[in-house]
């Protein structure tokens, strides 16, 4: 969980930073999207790096989901009879929503790729440039798409708030002071990431971009 999750977090930050290019200008954003396909050229043929990176991501996502599934099955087996008085959540809310949060994020990623990468579910889709798709997605009339993005990104925020800290603990973090520090850093990183991601749809909806 910790190793595959760390790779996913690195991707999330790189992706969020790339998205911010839309504030520089739509042409720059599209240029960035095309550049993604050219990374590694001429060492690698065009598009190869992107595909290598995609396979790496798929592997990380696969391992992450596999480990989560094993843990969930073990947890179900470890408590065959449920409490009739449902236990109160005493620890953190973020920690107790990891499983459903993860499922929501996975569904979002599928929708998101069909929307912005392949364009199938995008209002404009087809041969349009990435910036045109983003702008079409988050137009005020498409508020429900924007809402879904917001919910998904906030779910990612909760997931990382517990996930980043938990990964640090799994790697052996063991002092109480370090625990407070790791929790604060996890919260800060999650808030920053959510803000980076949400800035794009909000800017489009409010007409600041496009």
């Amino acid at each position: 969980m910790a190793a595959s999750g760390t790779l996913l977090v690195l991707f999330l930050f790189a992706h969020a930073a790339g998205n911010l290019k839309i504030f520089v200008g739509e042409a720059d954003f599209d240029h960035y999207a095309h550049w993604l396909r050219e990374i590694g050229v001429p060492l690698l043929p065009s598009g190869w790096f992107l595909w290598i990176q995609r396979f790496g991501m798929l592997l990380a996502i696969g391992l992450h989901i596999w480990a989560a599934t094993v843990l969930t099955i073990r947890a179900k087996k470890a408590r065959p009879v449920k409490y009739s008085h449902r236990p109160k959540i005493q620890g953190s809310y973020a920690a107790r929503t990891m499983r459903w949060g993860g499922v929501i994020i996975a569904l979002f990623v599928i929708y998101h790729i069909l929307d912005l990468t392949t364009g199938h579910l995008n209002p404009v889709g087809g041969d349009t440039e990435p910036s045109a798709r983003v702008i079409a997605d988050f137009a005020p009339s498409h508020w429900y798409v924007t809402l879904f993005y917001v919910v998904a990104v906030v779910a990612v925020g909760f997931h990382l708030r517990h996930g980043i800290w938990s990964a640090v603990r799994t790697m052996g973090q063991q002092t109480s002071k370090g625990e407070r520090r790791a929790k604060a850093i996890a919260l800060a990183l999650s808030v920053i990431l959510v803000a980076m991601y949400l800035s794009v749809p909000f800017a489009v909806t409010l007409g600041l971009v496009g």
Partner: protein, 247 residues
Amino acid sequence: MDIKVRVWRQSGPSAGGKMVTYDVKGISPDASFLEMIDVLNETLILNGDDPIAFDHDCREGICGACSMVINGVAHGPEKATTTCQLHMRKFSDGDVIDVEPWRAAAFPVIKDLVVDRSAFDKIIQAGGYITVPTGTAPDAHATPVPKKDADAAFEAATCIGCGACVAACPNGSSMLFTAAKITHLGLMPQGQPERDSRVIDMLQAQDDAGFGGCTNAGECTTVCPKGIPLSLIGRLNSDYRKAITKR
């Protein structure tokens, strides 16, 4: 105080069980939770009913025998307190209180609220010991231990093996218990020879016993009557990583 309790009744390990409601009248707010059950049991016996079976021994919060999930919280609403040290003044007149046993596959119900916690003994047998020469007891100061380590080891050693951590864990994991033992023994010079094999063997024993895997959810430490901190699980993880990379 007049209250109602809904208690898990199960006549034997393989019998089905259900929650049964009882009225308990005229209980002193200064009675402990177990004394309240004692009073209820006396009425049940006088009526010719089977009294509620529950574990208890010291009744002073040091043995780890008592074990009830009260309104969904292991050892009840008061923090850092065993069920035997919980008093009825923490509840209000007219309350309906749900009482259930620890719920875990590794802790099967024997009867009513009594569960079999010998899975913890299996974990201890796998590595929760040190090897010492027998004979006369060594002088207490024969092996110096830094004060800081002695204090931290002592804090971990306050774990009474009650199993509340397992009962509260959404994964049914015993990681906090095992981490307390790993820390307690691993901080002492006497615990070093078996340090690597201890963590590997105890984790294996806990998996074999049917406990779930830890996801750092942190529910355990909030119910632990001894306040064993979650950070000890980080120490266990670190010991485990070192032990498997050495192999």
